[in-house]
Subunit: 222 residues, 2 copies
DNA sequence: TTCCTATTTTTGTGATCACATTAGCGCCAT
DNA sequence: ATGGCGCTAATGTGATCACAAAAATAGGAA
């Protein structure tokens, strides 16, 4: 009977255009993909909840989703951490990038108009800035933005989603890689990609993509 | 203060070697992938919970995971249903299969010993049985078993996982397809795959896979 | 009969709690 | 000093509840 506890909903004065778990999910996903976590970094549901000002429930759902996509891995006891990839796994994920991304680029090629190519060139300039400032996270973020901008033109959402899943899995490892090799300028292959787009040269485009995707990861497999 | 409600845990007399949400997840995933649901079929969290004898919480986590993999889609209001794919989406997923599966087969080829090939031939016999009995779900299940058995030899878990994600997305649609075209025997391409494996002929193997993967779906895109 | 509206029911979301398990850590004996 | 042991705190899991939004249903007016 007791008609108690009518209110335990927080004020929620702000707007939540989207649900809480989705906000947590998207933020964590971006952070992982951009390499803001080290490989093997562990986190707790209550900790995530406190960080985002929510209870365990949305934190749990966001984590489950990320685990399903391979962005987080969970131990036998349910503890969650950022994945530490074996050499074989890195090689395999690099192969997947080499398989998927040239295909996406090929599909984008006939739809790539001049404004897009100019935009890609501008992103390359930003990449150069990040490299000069040794901003690893910025470098990764802008580099992925370059690829995503191109692939969005492919009109292949499922293929792009799968590719982003691969990026997500590689996120923490990518950070460890770029911190090691200390780039100082925009990768040469990005220039080749832009050139091939301008020329409408599909074979060159595919080759440049494959090289760009493979080169960095190759250093990690030692 | 009231020290009430010390026990609301169900007897749990059975063994749960794994967690509840994982059991729900795996069962639903298999059902979706094998085409046991029609495209657009909706379900509720409470309904799923009642079906599996659990509360909403594990049902929600299982559903979230499946949504993340594309096996279920959720409407703007959070309602969950099996996805209804557009022609473009089906075509795209078929392209993904055509991209990934020949690669997996190529990687499996050097590792494919005789016992494996014999096993594939046995699975083909089972497929023929299902076709004769017009057992659509059995047909899909056995067909996927054929492919998975081959790909397991590729030693490429991430690539296989991505491929299974594609299968999952196609599950309900696949059912609708096979119910329509009423097969009566094992697909010819499966025989070609076995032959190419025996001969160690990689180009033929890739071609046979691409054909096998593409042929059925092509009919759906009308 | 048909269409619009109001009410009732259903459903997803997030918070909280009890419980089991595990990891972390100190403590004592050797 | 070190290694094993037990205890405490922390953590994941699942159930339950309150609430808001949406869907379904019923009822009345044209």
């Amino acid at each position: 009977m007791i008609p108690q506890t009518p209110i335990h909903q927080p004020p929620k004065v702000g707007d939540t255009a989207t649900s809480a778990h989705d906000r947590v999910y998207r933020t964590l996903r971006t952070q992982i993909m951009h390499g803001e976590f080290r490989p093997g970094q562990s986190m707790t549901l209550r900790g995530i909840g406190k960080t985002f000002g929510v209870s365990m429930t949305p934190a749990r759902e966001a984590v489950r989703r990320l685990v399903a996509e391979g962005g987080l891995s969970l131990s036998s006891s349910g503890r969650v951490a950022t994945p530490e990839l074996s050499s074989e796994r890195i090689e395999e994920l690099a192969s997947l990038r080499a398989l998927l991304e040239p295909e996406l680029a090929s599909r984008a090629l006939p739809r790539a108009h001049l404004a897009l190519i100019d935009r890609l060139q501008a992103i390359n300039a930003t990449i150069a800035e990040c490299a000069a400032k040794h901003d690893d996270v910025g470098y990764i973020r802008t580099n992925l933005e370059f690829h995503r901008t191109l692939y969005l033109r492919a009109q292949a959402p499922a293929m792009l989603a799968l590719t982003e899943t691969v990026w997500l899995q590689l996120g923490p490892t990518m950070r460890a890689l770029y911190a090691r090799l200390n780039r100082t300028e925009v990768p040469h292959n990005h220039r080749l990609i832009v050139s091939a787009l301008r020329a409408g040269d599909e074979p060159s485009l595919r080759l440049a993509l494959r090289s760009d995707v493979t080169q960095g990861l190759r250093l990690l497999v030692v």
